[in-house]
Amino acid sequence: MSAGAELYQQAIKDWAGADHGHGRLDPADAAARTDNPLCGDRVQVTLRLDAGRITAFAQETRGCLLCRAAASLLAQRAPGMDAAAAAAASTALEELLAEGRDPPPAWQDLAMFAPARSYRSRHKCALLPFRALRQALEGVSHREQ
């Protein structure tokens, strides 16, 4: 299997195609937008929260398959998470991409991004939605301090 085909396995295409959580919450309790200056890709995340936990998650993503798959996966897993859980998920993906570390059991789906490890310029594609989520939650915690 060529490197390109390995990266674009069916799971990535399925998650990207499903586009879970597509849209924008209005009103929202928290929001953040992250951009990839390399290509102009953009992820907009809006959240509703209850006592610091996500009750609703929406994403609008303009990006490649990796970015859209990550945003779609996050939309399925984000409800119920708090800032610490979001940070842990983001760290799990960072460690998978940077060091090849297996993701924790709760985040086994992240393994679909493992072939991207060899392509450093693509790490940010998968991480962009996770960074948007972290920023949105950090914005709330800063406001509350």
Partner: protein, 396 residues
């Protein structure tokens, strides 16, 4: 031709189609850098020993080569770190004489390096910035020049050739219109120099910028050309060694141009390497090479027409353009396309190509770009067309 480029010679399976970003370095340039660094390496304009004298001569000889390539005088050549630094130099040094109420005209087709410095000048000096739009075929809408050029326009800053669509600017028309209002013209030649020597006297512009790494030379060196009568009146941009006449506790005086604009140790070996690349380019039969580039570009455009869902940004004509072709494929992201192409030995760039205002005008956020240079041939184009068919399958 490929054998003259060590990287391409060593990687037979590589189809390098990203020369608009960085062209491969020619063996003559590499050899010249190595010869200089192992035989004449010393600082310039500072030492009196024989080695320093050799470095001085090599550096000034490089200035001469750049001047011959552009058909200008050597004392009008300023070495910079690249085209971006050259354009920023104009924005600062020429811009120092501008004030609120003055106007600068740029186009929507500019690379960020000929757009952002003018946005920054607007922030610093309160000048007004006018923007020449692009037509759907990627050409600048020169018909708008009479409306956009005003008495207050001091400078027109345009690209000679788009790094996205390959559209070539009708420089004579721009210069003619600018002169009517007394405006100066700075031309970004970054994409044009790869396709042959330039005659700046004939073009009639006032400033010209290009980078060494785009014309088969080393990275880290570029050229700003300015008319002697302008350079001698402009203030320096960076301060430091080499650009001063005298320094005392009360202040400093300026060195003569071009040294006034070359503060600190310049990119000496890189300039020497660039000179070798330019000398090599000047030895080539450019009418024949341009014919070949046009034929190859036509072959590429014909092949792209056959790819379902593919749209070329700008003109579909092979003539009157540089062999730079950008496109989008419905439903596929340029990064994904380039990733699959990479697996097939094809090096292309996907993204906004540092030309976000242009991409916005053309209705896309990002695109895939194939840029051909003199070392590309039919096999590269055929591999790209095959690769795109594979990408369309792999990504859907």
């Amino acid at each position: 031709m490929r054998s003259g480029f060590p990287l391409l010679a060593a990687q037979a399976g590589l189809h390098y189609l990203d020369s608009a970003a960085t062209a491969q370095i020619h063996r003559d340039a590499l050899d010249a850098v190595l010869r200089h660094e192992t035989g004449s390496r010393a600082n310039v304009m500072r030492g009196t020993y024989a080695l320093a004298d050799a470095a001085d001569r090599a550096y000034e000889s490089a200035r001469g080569a750049a001047a011959r390539f552009l058909n200008v005088a050597a004392e009008e050549i300023v070495f910079t770190s690249g085209a971006t630094a050259a354009l920023n130099l104009v924005a600062h040094s020429f811009g120092a004489g501008l004030q609120a109420g003055d106007r600068v005209l740029v186009s929507q087709a500019e690379h960020h390096s000929n757009f952002v410095p003018w946005l920054m000048l607007r922030e610093r000096k309160g000048i007004a910035l006018d923007v020449l739009p692009v037509r759907p075929d990627g050409q600048l809408d020169l018909g708008r020049l009479p409306q956009l050029l005003r008495e207050e326009t001091r400078l027109v800053a345009l690209t000679q050739c788009s790094n996205v669509t390959g559209a070539i600017t009708d420089v004579a028309a721009v210069v003619d219109a600018a002169r009517r209002v007394g405006a100066r013209v700075v031309l970004d030649g970054a994409q044009a120099v790869q396709h042959g020597p330039q005659d700046l006297r004939a073009l009639g512009v006032d400033f010209y910028a290009f980078s060494g790494h785009k014309c088969f030379g080393p990275g880290g060196v570029g050229v700003l050309w300015g008319r002697a009568e302008l350079l001698c009146t402009l203030p320096p941009f960076c301060g430091g060694g080499g650009m001063v006449g005298e320094v005392n506790l009360d202040g400093f005086s300026w060195a003569e141009a071009p040294r006034r604009f070359e503060a600190g140790t310049p990119p000496i070996a890189q300039a020497v390497g660039l000179a070798a690349a330019l000398d090599w380019m000047m030895s080539l039969d450019w009418p024949r090479l341009r014919e070949r580039e046009t034929a190859l570009c036509a072959r590429l455009l014909d092949g792209l027409r056959e790819i379902p869902g593919l749209r070329v940004l700008g003109s579909m004509a092979a003539e009157g353009r540089a062999p730079i072709v950008s496109f989008e494929i419905a439903g596929l992201h340029p990064h994904d396309i380039c990733q699959v192409l990479d697996a097939h030995g094809l090096a292309l760039r996907g993204g906004h190509h540092c030309a976000q205002p242009l991409l916005a005008a053309l209705g896309v956020e990002a695109c895939t770009r194939a840029s051909l240079a003199l070392y590309n041939d039919e096999s590269d184009v055929a591999a790209l067309l095959d690769g795109l068919r594979h990408a369309a399958k792999a990504l859907r």
